[in-house]
Subunit: 206 residues, 2 copies
């Protein structure tokens, strides 16, 4: 983990520094999202960010390094989007519904998130794996809480967490990234997925 | 669709031709799986296949073309692996269990399948999307059959199909590609996922 953390001396200490870093990461998201890692260039990123080329090197050593920082940043944004949609009074299944709906909206507004995280599989496999392992670990915690509260059955773990993560990722791919006219909206998709999560797709026997 | 179908004059008409094409595709799977699209070369593929460089061009015009053919071929192999595991007497939910177990075994034995299909998102986005849309359409059919037979609830459709596809893809990523020591085997993973599919993860109220 240490190796992928930003160099300490490069972590901005001032508000202005933090704003510049934010501009660079947003510009990188646009540049990598539009052109992919290999076609993207540091000079295009600084041009998009409206900062001098030299400023880039105050924060990052290379294109690889800003890409890695961007994957971590996007991973964090996805987490934040889901977390902001969750209220303390929600039950464990309602939390999953709200988190998915928020994720679908986030992905619809930031379509580059799929391309960038997916490209990490090739550009920076460690970041790619860390992203999913981190999300998976967070879901395991929620499922355990759900078991404790009585909203979910007990004994849920990693298998169910990865299954749930896969559901969410693919629903985002289909209904946010590849969204077509007349497709159900984020609330409808999250509702249907939540019903499936709650009680499955088997015919109930009563 | 027509544009991605192999050139008719290049479709082998003899058994020997079909064997050579198979050798080229298998060699391409190894080469693209080991090195990725950009680092892979036609000469390495023919060397792996044990055929003359010129032979390559009897079947494909370019590295792009064999990559595209390989994605279609892998898509077909994944389908075949699932289909071979399914017996006519199985109920709709048992079909899903068997198909997932077969897919997990297939992915464990052909780990390059993830890297190659995932790289198609960047090398040949149309093949990438077509792969998932084709699998999704096949799952929709199975869910409809499940509704008709009474094993699954009625009204299942594209949302549930993409959710199910995502479950399977991510369980393969975690338990076939990133498999660790002591992890549950394909049968156990498929069993747990199938329980989730059948009746969800909510606490049953009876």
């Amino acid at each position: 983990m240490a190796a992928s953390a930003p160099d300490e001396k490069k972590t901005p200490r001032t508000e202005k520094g933090r704003r510049t870093l934010r501009k660079l990461l947003d510009a990188a998201a646009g540049e990598f999202g539009d052109h992919g890692f290999h076609e993207a260039s540091i000079s295009s990123i600084t041009r998009r960010a409206g900062v001098a080329l030299g400023t880039f090197y105050t924060y990052f050593d290379s294109k690889d390094e800003i890409f890695r920082a961007l994957v971590a940043d996007m991973s964090e944004s996805v987490k934040r989007a889901a977390r902001e949609a969750i209220a303390p009074e929600m039950g464990a299944l309602e939390v999953e519904r709200a988190a998915l709906e928020a994720f679908l909206r986030f992905a619809g507004e930031h379509k580059e998130v799929y391309r960038i995280i997916d490209e990490a599989e090739f550009v920076d496999p460690r970041s790619y794996r860390m992203h999913y392992e981190t999300v998976g670990a967070r879901i395991i915690e929620r499922l355990e809480k759900g078991g404790d509260s009585g909203a979910m059955r007990e004994g849920l773990g990693e298998i169910e967490a990865w299954a749930l993560m896969g559901m969410n990722v693919f629903l985002g791919l289909r209904y946010a990234i590849w969204r077509g006219e007349g497709d159900p909206d984020a609330a409808e998709v999250a509702e249907a997925a939540n019903r499936m999560l709650q009680s499955g797709i088997g015919r109930s026997t009563d």
